[in-house]
């Protein structure tokens, strides 16, 4: 590997940002049209017939994946030819930290909505505080409770318990964080075998978690009647676990990409920013789950 340069590397010019914007544009109009044309209020079905949105959306997603691929190929090349110096790694690192912070705020908003619903909306609809008349005039039969299993307009659902699958999933994620740390440590001390082994285990645990989540959703929809349309409890349940699941998926993909880059020998003891970033991301997703387990499933 070439010597690290002392100058801060400023790339000459790059088409990928513009391409990325086009990709987002396609995704945005495709998704808007698709969602609009293919959903019907009050029905749990997606009708994918007769819309152009789905094709634009798919094209956008593929376009975006290709753009990401070429963009990252460029950066990997730069990294391998030693254009990245210490200061640039610092920029990447700090950038990743602030990105994770923005994700924290996103989940913060969802958790905030949960507490607001649980501590304020539901009691108020049930007549707490100075809301006796609201209760009397809007839904006199409504009973305040959490989780909300009967909505003001009478939709019902069952509650997802904490100590079955969710508890197992919690254990899986905690263990995966530990195995990932072992792998990270192995990378730093240069034990390649242990690194590959534990990186592989972590990925498998991630996939295992995701498949259990899918199973849980199936269970929720088909046995508990817990759906997106089951009122605020269902809405919050699927928003929090769903966005968490999307993040686990992204994290797993990052770990898989890292796995192949490990096999190719891209990472060195000193230079493995992408690996570090994926690890931070994984731990972040893990911590979100712990909060989620406590407030969504358990309490």
């Amino acid at each position: 590997m070439a010597e690290n340069s002392s100058k801060y590397y400023v790339p000459e010019s790059s088409p990928w940002p513009l391409f990325g914007s086009i990709g987002l544009f396609l995704i945005a109009i495709g998704a808007a049209n698709f969602i609009q044309q293919s959903t019907q209020f009050g029905q749990n079905t997606l009708r994918a017939d007769g819309t152009w949105g789905q094709y634009v959306l798919m094209a956008g997603v593929l376009w975006m994946i290709a753009t990401m691929f070429f963009w990252w190929r460029d950066t990997i090349k730069e990294s391998l030819t030693g254009l990245h110096n210490e200061q640039l790694s610092g920029s990447y690192r700090q950038g990743m930290i602030w990105f994770i912070f923005s994700e924290v705020m996103f989940f913060g908003a969802l958790f905030g909505a949960l507490f607001y619903a649980r501590w304020l909306i539901i009691p108020w609809l049930g007549g707490a505080g100075n809301n006796a008349m609201t209760h009397e005039l809007l839904w006199p039969g409504f009973q305040a409770m959490w989780p909300l299993t009967t909505t003001p307009d009478g939709r019902t659902t069952q509650v997802m318990g904490a100590w079955g699958l969710p508890a197992i999933n919690t254990a899986i994620l905690i263990v995966s964080s530990i195995t990932l740390t072992i792998a990270h440590h192995a990378l730093i001390v240069g034990e390649r075998g242990r690194l590959i082994l534990f990186q592989g285990i972590t990925i498998l645990l991630g996939l295992f978690f995701l498949s259990l989540q899918v199973y849980e959703y199936y269970h929720a929809y088909h046995e508990l009647g817990l759906t997106l349309e089951a009122g605020i409890y269902g809405s919050l349940f699927f928003f929090l676990t769903g966005f968490h699941g999307i993040h686990v998926t992204m994290g797993t993909l990052m770990l898989i990409v890292c796995f192949f880059r490990i096999l190719k020998g891209h990472f060195t003891k000193e230079n493995h920013f992408v690996y570090e970033a994926s690890a931070w991301y994984w731990h972040f997703v893990d911590v979100v789950w712990l909060f989620l387990f406590v407030v969504v499933y358990w309490l």
Partner: protein, 535 residues
């Protein structure tokens, strides 16, 4: 503030500046990207301004004359959205791009490609939004563009939102992605790219205010993304976030929106504080009074801005304790704001003042922004706000802080730094005309709004009671006068872009300090490839 021993390598300044369309489309250069941001925001300012004139044309006389009420609602909505997300925010990001690397002695922004991505998302996002308006305008209002106000309250935007709401939601997502990436870039640049010796407390105040702005952006744009996503699923996937029938609450929307929305107004004004703190010392030929207190005041404004949001919601029926909390917190925020105003005044105290164009705009900013702050204080008093809420008094308040505040400071910045950007001095004759016409018309436009608001004229209506007719006529006259005056600024900018005018020296303003004045005018394509040494 900082003594500079700058040594540039003039030999490698001028080669390898890319040419043609690629230079702008594929750019990784903070100056070019800054220029793109600034022109884009100016274009959006014109588009949003045109919509405002449609509104004022309708309101010039009582009764319905120009547009139908449905289209009027679309105009108020998209005017607000374009001005906030398309004009003010990109303008300050453009200034950040141009000036922050120059001010801290960095070769470029920390993540140059992501920088370009942040910019190029915007034209696409606004194509979607403006496309909805064009379709509505040329399709006789069918399909309708977003029509629920720039605050897009549920259920207007959920159950009753037009089909274009989904396009709007996705375009807000795009703007959010752009802002978050832009903000991360600023933070990382400031924290990681400062030249040796440029300690945090030596940074120009513009850099400080932008650092704090960027923090606010990273913190609240994701919350906005959460809000619009909930809207989307409420509209199409049967969730009940904002629907009481399923155990949700439309007021929840307002809480989430204003948790974003109030910090957002500081996102729009903090960079202005930085601009004015750069200009006033220059033309007072004194150091900024109370530099450290300015930094702390900015930081406390930013922190407090997270706990005042419900002052926009005093009338929704919050518990008394909540109302009181938000009232006191809101009043508290005017303390650090006051600190700033006093510091600017103290900077001018016994300075040897001259009144070049940037200084004129900066002074107008200080006076008129303070007016807006004072009407804000009136609105902060809960019992009083019960009367003023959703009247033209609120419209007067936020236009004083945003137009004669944020926008005036952006003009100040343009007149101050145009010599550095373009290499020629902005035309003084046109500039003076622009300033005086804007100053007089902006007050004719917005001051009477206080009176009609106090008298009870509600905002966002296409018609009004007869007793408001006279004031509204004058307001509309002010609006057209202000709008037309901005064409003078087009002329100023075009002349500078064509390099027509007096050639600018490296440091064209006598009292100016800072690294940006140590490089030639116009600033070469690459600056500070080797970091300057700051003593």
């Amino acid at each position: 503030m900082t003594a500079v021993a700058a040594h540039h390598d003039h030999h490698d300044d001028h080669h390898h500046a890319p040419h043609g369309l690629k230079r702008w489309l594929f750019s990784t250069n903070h100056k070019d990207i800054g220029t793109l941001y600034l022109w884009f925001s100016f274009a959006m300012f014109m588009v949003g301004g045109f919509m405002a004139l449609v509104i004022r044309a309708e309101l010039m006389y009582p009764g319905m004359q120009v547009v139908d009420p449905e289209f009027f609602n679309q105009m108020t909505t998209v005017h607000g959205l374009i001005m906030v997300f398309g004009a003010v925010m990109p303008a300050t990001v453009g200034l950040a791009n141009w000036m922050i690397p120059l001010m801290i002695g960095a070769p470029d922004m920390a993540l140059p490609r992501m920088n370009n991505w942040s910019f190029w998302i915007l034209p696409f996002a606004f194509t979607i939004l403006i496309g909805a308006v064009l379709m509505s305008a040329f399709g006789d209002g069918n399909p309708s563009a977003p029509n629920f106000g720039w605050t897009f309250y549920a259920p207007l935007s959920t159950k009753y939102g037009p089909a274009s709401t989904d396009l709007f939601i996705l375009s807000v997502h795009m703007m959010g992605i752009s802002s978050i990436m832009g903000a991360i870039n600023v933070i990382v640049t400031v924290l990681n790219m400062r030249a040796p010796g440029m300690t945090m407390m030596k940074m120009p105040l513009f850099v400080w205010t932008w650092l704090i702005t960027a923090f606010l952006l990273v913190a609240v744009m994701p919350v906005l993304a959460g809000a619009v996503t909930m809207m989307l699923t409420d509209r199409h996937f049967g969730t009940s976030f904002f629907d009481a029938a399923g155990g949700g609450d439309p007021v929840l929307f307002q809480h989430i929106f204003w948790f974003f929305g109030h910090p957002e107004v500081y996102i729009m004004i903090l960079p202005s504080f930085g601009i004015v703190s750069a200009i006033i010392p220059t033309f007072a030929r004194k150091h900024l009074f109370g530099y450290a207190s300015m930094v702390y005041a900015t930081a406390s404004i930013a922190l407090l801005s997270f706990v005042v949001w419900a002052h926009h919601m005093f009338t929704v029926g919050m518990p008394l304790a909540g109302t009181l909390f938000f009232m006191y917190m809101t009043m508290l925020i005017s303390v650090p704001t006051g600190v700033k105003v006093f510091n600017w005044v103290a900077t001018m105290w016994r300075g040897s003042l001259t009144f070049e164009l940037p200084m004129k705009w900066a002074l107008a900013f200080v006076v008129l922004f303070t007016c807006g702050g004072l009407s804000g204080l009136m609105l902060a008093l809960t019992p009083v706000d019960f009367q003023y809420h959703d009247t033209y008094f609120v419209v007067a308040h936020f236009h004083y802080v945003l137009v004669s505040g944020a926008i005036f400071s952006i003009f100040a910045a343009a007149y101050y730094w145009l010599p550095k950007w373009s290499g020629v001095m902005p035309n003084t004759f046109l500039g003076e005309l622009h300033f005086w016409n804007s100053l007089l018309s902006v007050n004719l436009l917005f001051f009477p709004m206080h009176f009609v608001g106090l008298a009870g004229m509600p905002r966002r209506y296409a018609d009004y009671a007869l007793q408001f007719a006279d004031y509204n006529w004058w307001i509309s006259v002010g609006a057209f006068w202000f709008g037309i005056s901005q064409l003078l600024f087009v002329a100023v900018c075009v002349l500078c872009a064509m390099k027509k005018g007096k050639k600018a020296e490296a440091a064209p303003w006598e009292g100016a300090e800072g690294l940006e004045w140590t490089v030639p005018s116009p600033a070469p394509f690459h600056t500070f490839d080797t970091p300057p040494v700051i003593k």
